[in-house]
Symmetry: C2
Subunit: 356 residues, 2 copies
C-alpha cells in the first residue's frame, strides 16, 4: 500500500483503525472572500462559487447537482477539471461508508438533509469582518462531535469552502504561523501574492498585527477566517474517537485552533489525509505548515490519474483542483475498508463520463 | 416487565432488539394551527407554542431551554405539568443513547446542531394550505433514513409539534380514517369539537371532502397536515432497520402516509411506543385509529408517576401533557438497554427540581 498512501509529518502510529465503522462528514461553508476575482478555481465565475459547496454535496448524494445546472468544475485557461466530489462519491460508495453533510454557513443550501451548525456565510476577509459568531459555531460543533462519537468508530471530516486556503492563510498569519507561499490552491498557478495581500488588508482593517492573535484563535477566525474552521475544530474537540481531517492546507488552520483552545488535546487521535496533489505540490507546503503547529501525521493518497482515460481527471496531474470535498480522505477511508485504488479511479471515471 | 410496558394492537413479535445500538431522533415542526386559542396545551400562550419544539430539544441537549427563559410547560386551570422533554432526557441519559434532532419546519430554530430536512413551518390548516412542499420533505426524510440505517441498529423517532393531534386528525380525516373523538391531546379536557371544526374548515377551504384523499396522502398533508408527518414517514421509508415511532396518535397519521405511499412496506419492522397516559386515555383511542390503518404493535410505558414526589409529574396522571418529545419511546429504549423505570422516574424528578 506504500505506493498508494504515503505518510508525511509525524511518523507516530495511528490507533488501530481496520474493521472500524467509519462515518464521513463533509462541512460546507461560503465566504465573501471567494467573490474576489482570480482567488479560486472552485467555480466557473466568482459569484458561482456560492453554489459550489451545495452542488458538490448534492452530487455526492443525488449523483447530480440540483442547485446548479452545471457540474462544479475548475476551468483555468480552457483546461477543465471536474470537482473532487466525484472522487469522494466513488470512494464512499465502493466502501459503503455513510456520508453526512454539515452546514457551517453555505450561501446556497443543498437540496439534501444536512446537519445545521451555522446558517450565515462568512464575510470577505479584506474587511476584517469574517465570522461574527465563532464561539457559537465551535460550541455547536463540539456537541455534534460528542454525538457522532456515539454512533461510529472513526470520523473523517472533509470540507467544501471556496477560497478556503486564503481564509486558512488568514487564520495562520493572525496566529503567527508562516503560511506565506505555503498554502495550497485549486489552480495550477497559485496566486500567493493575492492571498497574502487579502490577508494583510483584513488584518489592517481589523487593527491587528501578524501573529498578534496567537492566543486568541476565535478572534483570528472572526477577522480573517471562515466558518468551516471553527465548525471542524469544534467537532474534533467534541469527539472521543479517532478523527481524520480530510483536506489540504485548510486543515492546518483547524489544527492551529485546536492547539490553542485545547492545550491538553490528545493529538494521537488526529491525522490529516489528503491527495498526492496537495502533499507533493510544488506551489505549496502542507508539511512545513503542519510542523509549526502539532506535526500531525499526513497521509497522501495517489489515485494514479496518469492511468486514467479521462482528460478531466488527468488535469489534476497538472495542478488543477488538487483536493476538496475530502477527496483524499475519502479515498483513504475506502482503502481502509479494503477497496483498491484502481477501483476508486475507475468508478470516478465512470461518474465523470455520466456527468460531463 | 409486563406491568411497565403493555402491548396493544398487533401482538406480532418485534425483531430481536436487545443489545442493539439505538439512536433517538426527535423531529420538530410548527404550524399556524397551534396559534388557534385553546387548541393545545403545549405552550403557555398560543404564540409561545412556536418556541416549544426548540425549547424542548434545547432542554434535552443543554439541560435548559435557550430560546425561551421559561421552561415549556402545560398550564391548564392553574395546574402546571412540565414538558415531557424531561422524561426523554432522563431516559436517554441513563441509557447513554445518542440524541439527534431533525427540523421539519420549526418556527424557532433550536440553539443546537440539528439535521435540517425542511425550514418553513406549516400554515394554519383552517386555510386549507398547510404544507407547500410535502413530497420534497418526504424525499429528504427518505435520504436521512437511508443514512441513519447505516449508523445504528434501531431508530426511535419522537416529535415535538404543537397542535399535532389536530393536524394528524386532518390527515386521517382527509384520507378517510375515523379519528373523530379518538385523537389524543395535551390537555385533560380534549377539545374534540374544536379540532374537528378546524379540520372541516380546512377541507372546505381546499374543496376536498372527507375521505376523498384516501389515495393522495401528500395532498392530504398539503391541505390539512403538518411538516412533521411527511418527514417522519420519509425517514421510515428510507430505513432498512427496525423503527419505533415514539409518540401518540400523531404517529398513526404517519402510518397512514406510509401505507399509501409504500404499498409493499414491511410492517414487521415498525412499531409505536407511547406512554400509558396516551394508551389508556379515556378521551382518545390510539388503538381504534391504528387498527384501521396497519394495526402496528403499540407499546405503552408506565413511568409510575403515582410514586413520584413531584406535583408536576403527578399532573400527568390527571391528563395533562400525556406524551411528547418521544417520552414513551425514550423510556422504552432506555428499558431495552436495561434501565429500570424507577431510575427513569427518579432522574426525571431530579431534572424537574433542578429546572423549576
Amino acid at each position: 500500500m506504500r505506493d498508494i498512501i504515503k505518510q508525511f509529518g509525524s511518523s507516530r502510529n495511528l490507533p488501530e483503525l481496520e474493521n472500524a465503522d467509519i462515518l464521513f462528514l463533509c462541512v460546507i461553508a461560503s465566504t465573501g472572500t471567494s467573490h474576489i476575482p482570480a482567488i479560486t478555481g472552485a467555480g466557473v465565475t466568482p459569484e458561482l462559487t456560492d453554489y459550489t459547496p451545495a452542488a458538490d454535496v448534492e452530487l455526492v448524494v443525488h449523483g447530480e447537482p440540483r442547485c446548479l445546472k452545471e457540474i462544479p468544475r475548475t476551468i483555468i485557461d480552457g483546461v477543465v477539471a471536474p470537482t473532487p466530489a466525484v472522487i469522494t462519491k466513488a470512494s464512499l460508495e465502493l466502501a459503503n461508508i455513510p456520508f453526512l453533510v454539515a452546514d457551517a454557513g453555505a450561501a446556497i443550501k443543498p437540496d439534501i438533509p444536512f446537519m445545521s451548525i451555522n446558517s450565515e456565510p462568512g464575510g470577505n476577509i479584506e474587511t476584517g469582518k469574517a465570522v461574527s459568531n465563532v464561539e457559537e459555531i465551535f460550541n455547536r460543533g463540539e456537541i455534534l462531535g460528542e454525538t457522532i462519537s456515539r454512533i461510529t468508530d472513526h470520523l473523517f471530516i472533509g470540507e467544501s469552502t471556496p477560497a478556503g486556503t486564503t481564509t486558512a492563510l488568514g487564520v495562520l498569519t493572525a496566529m503567527g504561523y508562516d503560511g506565506n507561499y505555503k498554502v495550497s490552491g485549486s489552480m495550477p498557478n497559485n496566486p500567493h501574492e493575492l492571498k497574502q495581500n487579502i490577508v494583510a488588508s483584513g488584518l489592517k482593517a481589523s487593527g491587528f498585527k501578524v501573529g498578534e492573535l496567537k492566543s486568541k484563535p476565535f478572534k483570528a477566525v472572526e477577522i480573517v477566517g471562515d466558518p468551516m474552521i471553527p465548525a471542524v475544530a469544534g467537532i474534533v474537540a467534541g469527539c472521543t474517537i479517532p478523527v481524520t481531517l480530510a483536506g489540504g492546507t485548510q486543515m492546518t488552520a483547524v489544527c492551529a485552533i485546536i492547539k490553542e483552545v485545547l492545550p491538553k488535546f490528545d493529538w494521537c487521535n488526529l491525522s490529516i489525509a489528503t491527495t498526492r496533489f496537495v502533499a507533493e505540490d510544488e506551489t505549496s507546503d502542507i508539511n512545513y505548515i503542519s510542523r509549526q503547529i502539532a506535526d500531525t501525521p499526513i497521509f497522501a493518497v495517489d489515485p494514479q490519474f496518469e492511468k486514467s482515460q479521462s482528460d478531466g481527471l488527468k488535469n489534476y496531474l497538472k495542478g488543477s483542483v488538487k483536493e476538496g470535498v475530502g477527496a483524499g480522505g475519502a479515498m483513504m477511508a475506502s482503502i481502509l475498508k479494503g477497496v483498491s485504488v484502481d477501483d476508486i479511479r475507475m468508478k470516478t471515471e465512470q461518474f465523470c463520463w455520466e456527468l460531463f
